[in-house]
């Protein structure tokens, strides 16, 4: 109760809230490849139940940020805290959707097999994929509208369907915080709508979702929290206060393209 009150009273001051209720806190995070820093001194705190977009130009370190949070790449310094604990301890509450291009879609597995991979952590070593796992995976496929494609080999799915397969796999993880690396990349309009519906549904159930996003035009529409990133955090907070022309200019700097200008127009017109 008190937490809820304090949260409402002073949005943005999560330090007052119970750390176990904060899905993600990042302190002083720096990641370097070949001694060249990719992201610097990231300090970030994401409140519970937000749909968060991570936005920035190419090479801003958006994917790197996600991967560093998930311990997939070594951190040069800093720490990542999930629900007040280390990632190691709260791993089961974290779901991950990698970039679609990161895997070989020619691999000899069916969509159902891929989704069932989301249950492997619960299954543990050596145990085969159980009937229960398969049933759960089937439900997840239904939720993303792919029930009819469960037994298709994954190369026979369209790009959008492949992306939805990945989302279904994250759904069966039944996590509390999700990291999604460009789920909207190169998907058709129908898939984009399906994904947005799914995100909103997750939010309604109190989940927190971080999404690396490219399409500035849809940021205010889809996300209520935004992190503007360009090696450092340029701005982070509620979308309506962070997603300003000034901040975008500071994020994209000289790289401001026609597309981002168009987005600016949208921001202005709001």
């Amino acid at each position: 109760m008190i937490n809820a009150v304090s949260k409402q009273a002073s949005p943005g001051h999560e330090a007052l809230a119970d750390p176990k209720r904060i899905p993600l806190t990042i302190r002083d995070l720096t990641v370097a490849y070949h001694r060249k820093p990719v992201i610097w001194d990231i300090d970030l705190s994401i409140p519970e139940g937000k749909l968060v977009s991570i936005v920035g130009p190419n090479g801003a370190g958006k994917s790197t940020l996600i991967k560093a949070c998930l311990d997939l790449i070594p951190r040069s310094s800093g720490e990542v805290i999930i629900y007040g604990q280390s990632y190691e301890k709260e791993r089961k509450r974290v779901g991950y959707v990698p970039q679609r291009e990161s895997v070989d879609w020619d691999f000899p597995v069916s969509a159902l097999d891929v989704v069932a991979m989301g249950t492997y952590a619960q299954l543990g070593w050596f145990r085969r994929v159980s009937k229960r796992s398969k049933a759960l995976s089937m439900q997840a496929l239904e939720r993303v509208g792919l029930a009819d494609y469960a037994h298709r080999q994954i190369s026979q799915l369209s790009g959008g369907q492949q992306q939805r397969t990945f989302l279904a796999r994250a759904l069966v993880q039944d996590a509390d915080i999700y990291f999604m690396d460009e789920p909207f990349a190169a998907v058709d309009a129908a898939t984009e709508r399906a994904i947005v519906e799914l995100l909103k549904d997750l939010q309604r159930r109190g989940k927190t979702v971080l999404v690396v996003h490219h399409d500035l035009a849809t940021v205010p529409q889809y996300f209520d929290w935004t992190v503007l990133l360009n090696m450092r955090v340029v701005a982070a907070g509620p979308t309506e206060s962070v997603f300003t022309q000034e901040n975008l200019r500071r994020t994209y700097g000289g790289k401001l393209t026609l597309l981002t200008q168009a987005a600016n127009e949208i921001v202005k017109s709001r």
Binding site: L70, Y96, M117, Y120, R128, V129
Partner: protein, 449 residues
Amino acid sequence: MLEFADIWNVLFLRDYNTRLVVICTMLLGCACGLMGGFLLLRKRSLMGDTLSHATLPGVGLAFMLAVALGGDGKSLPFLLSGAAITGVLGCWAVLLIRNHTRIKDDAAMGIVLSVFFGAGVAVLGMIQTMPEGSAAGLESFIYGKTASMVLSDFWILVLVTLCVLTGSLVLFKEFRLLCFDESFAASLGWPVKVLDVILLGLVTAVTVAGLQAVGLILIIAFLITPAAAARFWTNQLDRMLLLSALIGGASGWLGASLSAFYPRLPAGAVIVLVAAFVFLISMLIGSERGVLVRWLRQTQLKYRIGRQHLLRALYEILEAGRSDGELTIQAVPFRQVRGRRTWSDASLREYIRRAYDDGLLEVQNKEDSIRLTEAGLAEAAQVTRNHRLWELYLIEYADVATSRVDRDADMVEHVLGEQMVARLESQLQTYRSAGSLVPASPHPIVPGD
């Protein structure tokens, strides 16, 4: 001349001299096929090659060490241990170069592979000059020499095959995840490096055990070829691995048997050639991804689409020509059909011929005009209906502009199943009761000449 009885005896293990060798290579083939499947899907084929080439200095050094310790140096487990050690060292060197420099995988493997192999050749050269060395026969590790296999080889292979079999059964789920999506595996908390080491360990065991039979140069082919062949037949990992093991086993069995009749042919080469033959056949006629199957599927699709285009063209011509009420079947001049789409004379005539064979058309006046049969009209109406339903759906739900909906619908309508059509109908109920079975076209139809 070869006697049939001899062949029979060798193939079915009745011949005492060759029995052991044939069983050994068969076991090795199974183990190779199984591990090769994972190696192929993990995209580590070249890593296997590096590993096998890097075993050579180990064999030589183990021999020298054994001699220095006072033995005769021919203890096989000892030699193979040496091989395994430098093999793994080679892989480790590749990872080291890759992770700590900016040199890419392929260059790192190229360097390590040739340097280790070169070192091995040098060590073998030194052994030749030693008094004990001349009779060592270590060169057989390079090309393989099945004839030299003895009972202890058999037991080593049994052990390795059992390890590989248990490993891939028990860790099937883990290996599948590792090979498909390493970073997701890591995010779930699986120790990806440990799994990789186990996989590499099993591959090392198979490689080292296979040195005697096929030699270090050809072992990689024995690992990869059966797996690549199996991939043409199935889209399921478990079946692919099983098939790969079977193909490997069969290649080993046939290859070793063949080389038993022609002692001058090195068995390793014959085995690999047999496996390559299976690969070639699979590539051509593999039931899932074979070249022939793909070609057939494409051709079938092409003709199905062609036939549907033809029927719809005829239907729309009749539709445009009707005064009112029922559509009546009339003969349509060829050139009018020809003008409906950009299709070549030859392909249109081929579609017409096929539709005629199927009883959908009657051809009149030496193909100058064509006329739908009753069955043809029914199917044409069905085809046109699907096309229009799909068009309406696109306009209604996918925001496709009316002017380009025809083209978009063209691509999908041919693959609509009954289920899909039923769903379209239910979503577009308003159009269903628009009087006729076939809804009106949402765009103006460009008439033929």
